[in-house]
Every structure is written in C-alpha cells, then in structure tokens.
Symmetry: C2
C-alpha cells in the first residue's frame, strides 16, 4: 500500500517522536519536576500525539501543565501517598501533583497487585489532568491483563433535561489483549463530542451538528459560540429519545467512581469552564484483572483474535470500505507517526516555542 508522505502545510511542523519526548522532558525538569516524573509525563503526552489524539498531547503542555506549575496551582514535586490498601484495592492521594506520574504509579501498583491477587481496583484523589485514559489501561496489556482507566475533570456537560454543566467529558478506557490482532482499546468520552470539536467548528465557521451542544437556556444549538457558552451533551444527545440519558448515566458513573469513591471533587465542585485556574482535585479510577481467573490466557487470546476478525471482516455499509474495532485507527496512526514523525498545527508549534522561551530552554528539534 502506498504511504502518504506528510505534506508541508504553512506553519505546520514535523518532529520525530523521540525529540518531542525529549523537549517535554526538559521543559518539565526546568519546572522542578523530578527525572522520573518528567519522563512519565513525556511518555503519556507523546503517546497521545503518536496515537493521533492531538487534543490530549503536547498541545496541552503549556496551558494545562507548565503554566499551572509556574503559577503554583500544581505541585511539581508531589508524590502520591497511600490512603487505604487491601490485597485487591488501593486508594491513593496524589497530593496535587501532576496527573500523569500519579496515574502511571497508580496503574503500576494496580497491575502488580492484580498479578498477585487476580484483580485490583484503585482510586486516586487530589490529582490533576492525566492526559489520555488509554495510556493507563494499555499498561495492563503487556502483562496479559485487562486494564481499566477513567477520570473526571472540569465540567462541560449538562445532565439530560438539565442546563447547567455538572459533568466532565468523563472518559472510560478498557484495554483487552488479543494474540496476533492488535488489542481491543476502547477510550471514549461519555459525551457526544469533546470540547475540541466545538472549537474546530468555530475556527472553520461551520455549524455544530445537532446533538453536540445546548445553549445556556438548555435549548439545542448549532451555533459554536452558543454551544461553548452553554454545555456539551452526553453521548446519545439531547433528551432521552436517542439515549442521551445513557451517556449522562455513564458520565455520572465516572464521577461517582473518580470523585465520590476516590474522595475528591465531584459534580458542581469541579471547576466550571470559566475557572481554568481553580485547583482541580481531579480523581482517577483504575483497574486490572487476570484473564486466567476465567479461562486459559492463550485460549482467550486466540478467541479474541476470532472475535475481532469477525467485526473487522464484517460487510461495510455503502460508502464505507472497512469496519474498525476500538483502538485500530490509533494503532495505525501510531505506526505511521512513529516512522514519519508527528506533524503539529501552527497553534501547537507556537505554544511549544512559547514554553521554550518562558523556561529559557532549547526549542523543539523540528524536522521540517
């Protein structure tokens, strides 16, 4: 199959993933983050860009992490402490540190404990934005475990029949190993879309699709500005007729596990969308469990291949060429970006240059 060579677009720049990683690491070291933690943040952010989830990668380095460390909102030296622990459960306090190292440490312990006790569930409170949920669930894969990851966040989404945002985009990720096929990796916001889609529509001057957002009075809107002032809608859209109450239910479930169970902020305690600099007290929920508690791992892996192939080889509808399974598009992008580098849009490039200037470090080593 012919590969697309990345085209130079005005203002866009390409960078090899290793170099992007190195830039993120250096920036965080300069902010007072430890060697280990800076490496973990760089791992998660570059994994996001590698997988094509540009919204959650280095695009957020400046606004979500560097600026919040410099302003004192996030403690760059904090390390998670254990609140409660049993053989199969763990409750951590991230002590207002960066979300990524807290997530990596929490999931590492979750995996160790699951390997020992078949299953482990873990909460983290008092944390910050942790990037893509799938990074952590996927950590379980190399151990032949099923991994779970979820987080709450700022509130953007209104409940069904409501008009005040009380939920975040509340992502849920589950990663399940296969044998020769790529693993199943679900990583989904429980809202119809994330905020980024509204921003893109606004930039392009396009209307929002019906079901994405409501205005401040709770009426469906196709106007990006009205939607951004109002709320995004749960998966299933407006009202209950297309199942909006299901997406809302999933979002509330995430907030209960990550907020109420973890012992952090929940519901209206989360910062509203005008409160970017309010401390977050973000909570995460992780899980891992052994497959051989139910059937032999080899047998499971082989059966997973058959299951995934049945979907992938299923007949596409008119106008489509393939049926995908969860995670497949991201694995394809990761292979391409690993080889060709990551191409970042002008806004993100400028933001990274701004980080370099702010922290007086070398700018990113762009390829193009």
């Amino acid at each position: 199959m012919a590969q697309t060579v990345p085209q130079a677009k005005p203002g866009w720049k390409t960078i090899q993933v290793g170099r992007l990683h190195e830039f993120v690491r250096r920036a965080l070291l300069r902010c007072g983050v430890s060697e280990v933690d800076a490496g973990q943040v760089a791992d998660v952010l570059t994994a996001s860009d590698l997988r094509g989830v540009e919204s959650h990668g280095v695009a957020r380095l400046e606004g979500f992490y560097v600026d919040n460390i410099l302003s004192g909102m996030i403690d760059p030296k904090a390390s998670p402490t254990v609140v409660r622990e049993t053989a199969t459960s763990l409750a951590l306090d991230a002590n207002n540190g960066l979300g990524h190292p807290a997530g990596v440490k929490a999931m590492t312990r979750t995996i160790e404990k699951a390997l020992e006790s078949s299953v482990c569930l873990t909460t983290v409170r008092n944390s910050n934005h942790y990037g893509i949920a799938a990074y952590y669930s996927m950590m379980a894969l190399e151990h032949g475990l099923i991994g779970i990851s979820s987080t709450n966040s700022m509130r953007w989404a209104a409940p069904t029949f409501g008009k005040i945002p009380l939920n975040g985009t509340s992502p849920i990720s589950v990663a399940i190993p296969a044998k020769d096929e790529e693993p199943f990796v679900l990583d989904m916001a429980t809202t119809t879309v994330a905020l980024g889609k509204l921003e893109i529509a606004k930039r392009k001057g396009e209307p929002l699709r019906t079901g994405w957002a409501i205005d401040i009075d709770g009426n469906p809107t196709n106007d990006p500005d009205e939607g951004m002032k109002g709320s995004i809608l749960p998966l299933g859209g407006f009202g209950t007729e297309n199942g909006g109450h299901k997406g809302y239910g999933l979002g509330l479930l995430v907030d209960i596990l990550c907020g109420v169970l973890a012992g952090g902020h929940f519901g209206s305690q989360h910062p509203a969308k005008t409160e970017w600099r309010k401390p977050r007290d973000v909570g995460h929920f992780f899980g891992a469990f052994r497959i051989d508690g139910f059937r032999a791992l080899d047998e499971f892996r082989a059966t997973m291949d058959r299951e995934l192939r049945r979907f992938k080889e299923s007949k596409p509808e008119e106008g489509q060429t393939r049926v995908y399974v969860a995670g497949e598009p991201e694995f394809e992008k990761a292979r391409r970006h690993g080889r060709d580098g990551v191409t970042l849009d002008p806004v993100v490039c400028a933001s990274l240059e701004s980080v370099a200037k702010k922290l007086e470090i070398e700018p990113p080593a762009w390829s193009v």
Copy 2:
C-alpha cells in the same frame, strides 16, 4: 401530590405483584423447574414489571422461557457448575439452564466473595436470557457493595460502518448505594434503543427517529419495517459524528466480557434475529466490590447523597420540570406499582392466558 388512579383501558388488565409472581412461579413449576429456581425467575420477571420495564418482564414468560423449555431448547433442571475459581474470581457454566437462576446464584456467590476479598468478578457461560441486568447489580446494594451486571444476547445491532448485525443490545448495569437517597442504578442497552421501540413505532404507524436503525444495505432508515429487517444502531447513532463508534465499542466490550472471557458464543455465533429457536449460549458478567477499600462506607453513602442531590436539584432546561439520576424513574414506578398493581397490555394478558391454557394451570388472578 395527587396520585393517578390506573384507568381501565380496553383489554388492559391490572394484577397485584404478589399474584403475578405466584402465576409465574406456578407456570415454571409446571415446566419442571425446581421450587427455588421458579421463585428466582418469578422474582426477576416481576421486579422488571414493577420497575416499569415491561419489555423484560412477564411479557417474555411464554416466548422466551416456557416455549423454549417445552421445545427442549432450555434445560429446566440444569444447575450452574464451577469452571474456575479463585478468591476474587469465579467462572460458571449454566449448563443451558434458565438465565435468571444462573444469574441469581452467580451474583450471590460474587457478593459473598467480594465481602470476603474486597472484590469479585464472575463470568457465566452457556446460559440463557436473564431478564433485566439491574436485578443482579442491585443485589449488591443491601450489602453496601457496588454491583455490576452485563449480558450478551441475540444479534440486532450493526457495528459502526457495518451493515450486518453482530452485537446484541448488550446492556450494562452498575448499582451504587447511597444513604437517604435512592441508590444510583444505571441499566442501559449500549444501542440507541432496544428492539421494542421499533415494534412500538410499527404498531403506531409512526416513523423511526433518525439514529435508531439502518436498513439491510446499511443506510439510515425511518421506516420501522426496513429497520426491523436491517439493524439497530449503537448508542450515538449512525457513523461516528455523534459518537456511534462509542456505543459500538461498549457493545463489543460487553460481548468480549460475556462471550470471549466467559467462554461462550460471541459475535456472529449469536443467533440472528430470524433464529429465535437456535440455542443461545448466552454469557453474563458480574462484579461486586467493597467501598471501604477506598473510603469509609458511611462517609461514602453521605457523599453519594450530596452528589445525587446536586444533579437532582440542578436547573432543568426549558420545558422540563426535573433532572433525574439513573434509576430514579424506576424506583418511583416500583412504589406506584407495588401499591396499585401492574397493568399489562392486551398482548401480554393474552400471552399469560395462553401460558395457563398450554400448561393447564389456573390463569393469573387479575384485579380488574
């Protein structure tokens, strides 16, 4: 608040829940089901009608259970056996018995094991349709545990970009205790709607809402007949623009846990919608976990009340009077139906009378 007195509609009949339970129990005893198992099936079916989920209650007694026992498709005397067991996991084989007793027995053991080991996950293979998912997740509530329940089923739903049904409605239920508030009880199909909504539209001669179904070529359709010949759509609807791939991902997740992990049928192995009498090998997935692994149960319950109230007391959009939380409408219906009895539509009444005739037992003791 004034209560609505049930109105007599032509052909509709009302019955007290205890009497409905007794009828179901007698019917199943007559089919060769044991006292204990018949009671458990009656518990689950009447709980469904009590909660207002008419589609999953006694409406299915004849077609899903009695007829399939009489034809030899379901073994009325089967009892689940243990395939694998650890302190925190359990894999059962239902031996082609009824799904409800298998589910009740599986969830009972899941709860016992979770109380001992903090958490337990359980699979069941070679089972049959188990009714409402929430019945089993809610069993955890009285023990102060969080309960999980899920099942696969016949295939009705096409994957995103696909046109062949490969997934069931794949419900997920999670039940979480509160203190003075009713518990949070999510019980949702991972499709936009269940098949029942298409049937209702057809009976009423109304078009389907966009996002409910596709025809046999994979094109969106508003025609109930075309939709019923085609496939129902995952939560999020057609394509990816409103998040249809998320509902599809959740549906596939359910099929992996209940089919691949449990060791039963999965994907295209499930009977298609023309294959009502093909043995099902339905799989279930259950879970329960202790809250005090993360924080004190009393503290959690009180915080749950605050979380749920923040949503319930949130400002409704124009034209709505309230914001609900998951499970709330069902608890309200259960209180009303417990007091006033359950009112069944003419088709269901005729089906129960037909069961009585077929099995030569007394018909249901209708109130009206």
